[in-house]
Amino acid sequence: MTLALDCRDLVFSYGQTVVLAIDRLEIPTGLVVAVQGPNGAGKSTLLWLLAGLRRADRGSIAILGQPLTGRRRDLLQQVTLVMEQPYLLRTTARGNVEYGLARRGLDLRERMRRADGALAQVGLESKASSAAWELSQGEKKRLALARALAIQADILLLDEPGSNVDGRSAILIEESIERLRGQTTVVVSTHDIAQARRLADQVVTLVAGRKLDVSHENLVEVPTVLREGRRFAVLLPSLQIPIGSGPEGPVRLLVDPDSVQLGPPQPGSPTMVVSDLSLERHTIRIRLNGEMGLVVRLPREGLDELPLTLGQQVAVTIPPEALHLL
């Protein structure tokens, strides 16, 4: 499969602080890929690098197989970014959408046609002649999306498209992304895991600028103890899991929600209470509460083996391979 974006050994720093260090990131064409992670994980920085707005200290980015260099800035015509807090030009909604089209040399008739089409896609056809600054927050975000859709770039980068918008805008934005699936490569950054799971064909997790193979939902800082030369992470007094060697002291861990096992309560095994259940694209997300909070993800068919209801007690097993030391 052709890669829309291919990043290797990408490093970006602010001064002495490395904010992004990714060994390899491959994004195939036509997929919707979510970049998820907590605040400060480096999601926006990654999108800015992919959009050519920042230059990496090290490493390479290839866009549609072509290396992005200072001399190949024309490649950036294939990419467009909608920022988390988009700036709208001091003109009408249609004027905003037309700006990028004019830069691509389209004539007025084509610009109008494409602008009106893009505005209709995000439910703003009736606001085409309205001043951009008069729109609501959600409408402004939709307008910024329409501006990017009209360009019809091969790669669309969306930074937190669902943040600070009303429910209707959130739905319209997600519907627009859904329509692009298979035609345009969409990279969406979000701290909303549910949104990432709902929208994306692939999910990339960033934590502290590093790409991880597990979700960041269960990011915990726990103490460790040494016993018989082995180091144990103390998730709960009754739940201590070996994590290899190292000194005693607190550690930051990720507990992979996909690797945690649930079963009927057993005497002597730690139990937790189901506090929330939500359906995702292919999986079901279960929030457990007890002495600590934990998110667990099961395939939908997993519910057949262990029917779950809110308030139900379940035994939790965390295998050592579910723990990732940061």
Binding site: L76, T80, Y87, W133, R147
Partner: protein, 232 residues
């Protein structure tokens, strides 16, 4: 009190009858301050855009110096222009001391830090959001800069109005570089100082009223422009 009231009555007569000397003084003020502001815009705005959009060593210090130089007393600039253009000065050969040209140069020097400082602030405040947005929409760098300037138009218009208000109401430069020569370099502020000094309150007050009116109109324009910018 009676003197002041008499002065105001006489001033209103002068204004009502469109006294020739009064009109000449007002037009000279508008011409000199207008030209000085235009010159400061032509020199200052491009420089402000360059300072706002580029990063170079000492940039912060330069901006601090520009902000500080907005507070330089007008008599100091007047003194500098006098030293430069007087017969013994390096540009004395030009013979332009005590002419409106000298006043324009001095007022331009007064307006320049205002245009530069406020221009850098107006463009700089939008740079981090607008410039990347325009690049991601496919704008070339020169086009992005032009659009950025257009987006900053409300802030820039306010800075131009403030520069004009400052030079229109200054007296130190006009007095030292212009010499307050009747019919040649006497403007509103030097006229007020001169007429008041010799006890001719009527013309002084009439000029004062006009100065206040122009200041009022300029301030209203600034407020209008800024409120337009805030709404958008």
């Amino acid at each position: 009190m009676e003197t002041i009231l008499e002065g105001i009555r006489a001033a209103l007569d002068l204004l009502w009858s469109l006294d020739a000397e009064l009109i000449e003084i007002v037009f000279l003020s508008l011409r000199v301050s207008g030209l000085a502001t235009v010159a400061a815009i032509l020199i200052g705005l491009p420089l402000a855009v360059v300072i706002a959009l580029t990063r170079f060593p000492g940039r912060r210090l330069l901006i601090t110096l520009l902000q500080t130089s907005m507070a330089v007393p007008t008599v100091v600039i007047g003194l500098f222009i006098y030293a430069l253009l007087s017969n013994r000065g390096p540009l004395g050969g030009l013979g332009i001391l005590y002419t409106p040209t000298a006043m324009v140069i001095g007022q331009c020097l007064l307006a320049l830090p205002i245009v530069l400082s406020l221009g850098v602030a107006a463009v700089g405040s939008l740079e981090s959001t607008v410039y990347p947005t325009l690049i991601t929409l496919g704008a070339s760098r020169p086009r992005a800069v032009l659009t950025l300037i257009s987006e900053a138009r409300f802030g820039l218009a306010a800075c131009v109005a403030m520069a004009f208000a400052r030079v229109f109401s200054e007296v130190g430069i006009s007095m030292m570089a212009g010499g307050n020569i009747r019919g040649l370099t006497r403007n509103i502020t030097t006229g007020i100082a001169f007429e008041t000094g010799r006890g001719e309150f009527a013309l002084g007050i009439a000029l004062g009223v006009i100065l206040l009116l122009v200041a009022l109109v300029t301030n209203l324009a600034i407020q209008l422009v800024q409120s337009q910018g805030r709404n958008r």
